[in-house]
């Protein structure tokens, strides 16, 4: 059975990217693109955090003061831990690069990408924000699981955080969330990124890894075709990784 799945996956990925000269994406594809970009807004003090973020002057004002993207340190320190979590999840303090945004593409809903879309357009988490997630890893995971269960969605910002803090203990939880709707293929992407980043050997020698990450032609736009065989194989591998890699 495993051999059959492997063969199917390899075949699908070989034929996955021959449409460089793409046409306008279908409405279904565009809707899925929009769906992929939704981030989670944690409920912990969200209104208060939004109000504080609205006061941050990112561009120089008439007062001649320099703009900043960072919340005033005193105001930040006055936030509770959960409110800090919300702040970091909704307000990236640094910038992202010119070219890391993937242009819209065809049939996005039929693909499993090797990389996640950009969560914050031209912004990104700062070093201190990433450190917050890492330093408070267990608490961050617990808060994310609470929000995900409540929303029944894994927001794009959460997906990036899960990969950044290498939250491989979330694998069964992520799979159960995926199985509820079997719509959010970026959860499968997160599973593959976790396997790749941990150099899980069965994944590293797989056709998926070759196609998405290791091949000379692989790029940040690389993807596998979505089908039930590929879906099942990714989930099985991720569970094997979780059971053996704890």
């Amino acid at each position: 059975m495993l051999l059959l799945l492997f063969t199917t996956l390899a075949y699908g990925s070989v034929h996955a990217q021959d449409d460089d000269e793409y046409k306008e994406a279908s409405k279904e594809s565009q809707a899925y693109h929009k769906y992929r970009l939704v981030s989670t807004k944690p409920p912990f003090g969200l209104q208060k955090v939004n109000a504080l973020c609205a006061q941050i002057k990112e561009v120089d004002g008439d007062d001649g003061l320099d703009g900043t993207a960072i919340l005033d340190p005193k105001k930040y320190m006055a936030l509770s831990f959960r409110e800090k979590f919300t702040y970091h999840m909704v307000h990236p303090e640094s910038y992202s690069q010119n070219c890391d945004a993937m242009p819209p593409i065809q049939d996005e809903q039929k693909k499993i990408f090797g990389q996640l879309p950009d969560a914050f357009s031209e912004k990104n988490w700062s070093d201190r924000q990433e450190k917050f997630f890492t330093d408070h890893r267990d608490s961050v995971i617990a808060l994310m699981q609470y929000c995900i269960t409540k929303d029944k969605r894994v927001g794009l910002n959460f997906k990036h955080a899960i990969v950044d803090i290498n939250a491989k203990e979330m694998i069964p939880f992520l799979i159960s969330m995926y199985n509820e709707q079997k719509k959010d293929h970026d959860i499968l992407t997160v599973l593959m990124l976790l396997m790749k980043n941990n150099a899980y050997q069965p994944f590293m020698v797989s056709a998926s890894n070759k196609k998405l990450y290791a091949d000379q032609e692989a790029s940040y736009k690389s993807y596998l075709n979505f089908n039930v065989e590929n879906e099942a194989l990714i989930i099985k591998r991720a569970l094997d990784f979780y059971r053996g890699g704890k």
Binding site: E21, Y22, K23, E24, A25, E58, V59, D66, G67, T68, A69, S94, Y95, S96, Q97, N98, C99, D100, A101, P103, P104, S121, E122, K123, S126, D127, Q216, E217, A218, S219, Y220
Partner: protein
């Protein structure tokens, strides 16, 4: 290479801007949502054959004592080999004189390299002082294409990009790549020009343009084109005639720069 060097000297000495005649030009890429294939009508404009250099930016700073965003905000993003794809590190010491931070050296011997680690906001100040402006998104592409309608001004295959552009040839950014002699920026005009004599339209530094892709874009967003020394075919791959990048107007990266267009007399 020797020819390119001579041309550079001549151009700098004679302020040898390239005149692009008024007319209708084909730009974009078939079916490309962010830059569809279309014909545009533009007025004539004169564009610099090279990216703006450290020497030129230094003249501006000396004359105006201008402090860049990176100097005031200490939030520049820099690169060193060993980072994951699209990962940049914050360096509070970085600004245009030390575009990848003080620990990675200054520009004293790189005055003919493109200026980097400057924001769109800084560039606007330079342009005001120098009496020049940025090209629009359309003007940049017209100049880059030099009459071609292919993905690259040298054809549809990117296989020859190394002859025309300082880009990243490594598979990823974990190891230093000096395959073309340059890990970071190269002196402007080091590679072959396009058919209109414009150098480094691809690679070296991302070049800021004016204009929006969408009418509802926020005022903190700017666009840049052409890819940079950081860009590889596996990550970014924007060293072509159709892709359009986006970046915050206050962001200072060590792969962002610009080239200018002459102001027309009587136009502010």
């Amino acid at each position: 290479m020797l020819l390119a060097g001579c041309s550079f000297c001549y151009s700098q000495a004679n302020n040898n801007f390239v005149l692009v005649p008024a007319g209708k030009y084909t730009i974009g890429k078939k079916g490309y949502l962010t830059n569809p294939l279309r014909t545009v009508q533009v007025d004539s404009f004169s564009i610099a054959p090279y990216e703006t250099t450290n020497r030129q930016f230094e003249a501006f700073v000396k004359a105006t004592h201008y402090q860049t965003d990176a100097e005031r905000r200490h939030d520049a993003l820099v690169f060193e080999p060993g980072l994951k794809e699209f990962e940049w590190i914050s360096d509070t010491t970085a600004y245009w004189r030390y575009p990848n931070g003080k620990s990675r050296g200054g520009i004293e011997k790189e005055m003919d390299h493109p200026v980097t680690c400057i924001s769109y906001h800084d560039i606007m100040a330079y342009c005001t002082w120098a009496g020049v402006r940025l090209p629009s998104l359309e003007e940049w592409e017209i100049a880059c294409r030099a009459g071609t309608t292919t993905d690259y001004f040298f054809g549809d295959s990117g296989a020859f990009i190394g002859q025309y552009a300082n880009v990243w040839h490594g598979r990823d950014h974990m190891m230093a790549d000096t395959m073309d002699g340059h890990m970071y920026t190269a002196p402007v005009g080091s590679f072959k020009p396009n058919a209109w004599g414009l150098y480094d339209m691809y690679g070296n530094v991302f070049e800021f343009c004016t204009g929006k892709l969408l009418p509802d874009e926020g005022n903190t967003l700017a666009h840049a084109r052409g890819g940079s020394w950081w860009c590889s075919k596996n990550a970014c791959n924007f060293f072509n005639s159709y892709d359009i990048g986006r970046v915050n107007i206050r962001a200072s990266f060590s792969n962002q720069g610009f080239r200018v267009v002459k102001m027309k007399k009587g136009k502010g």
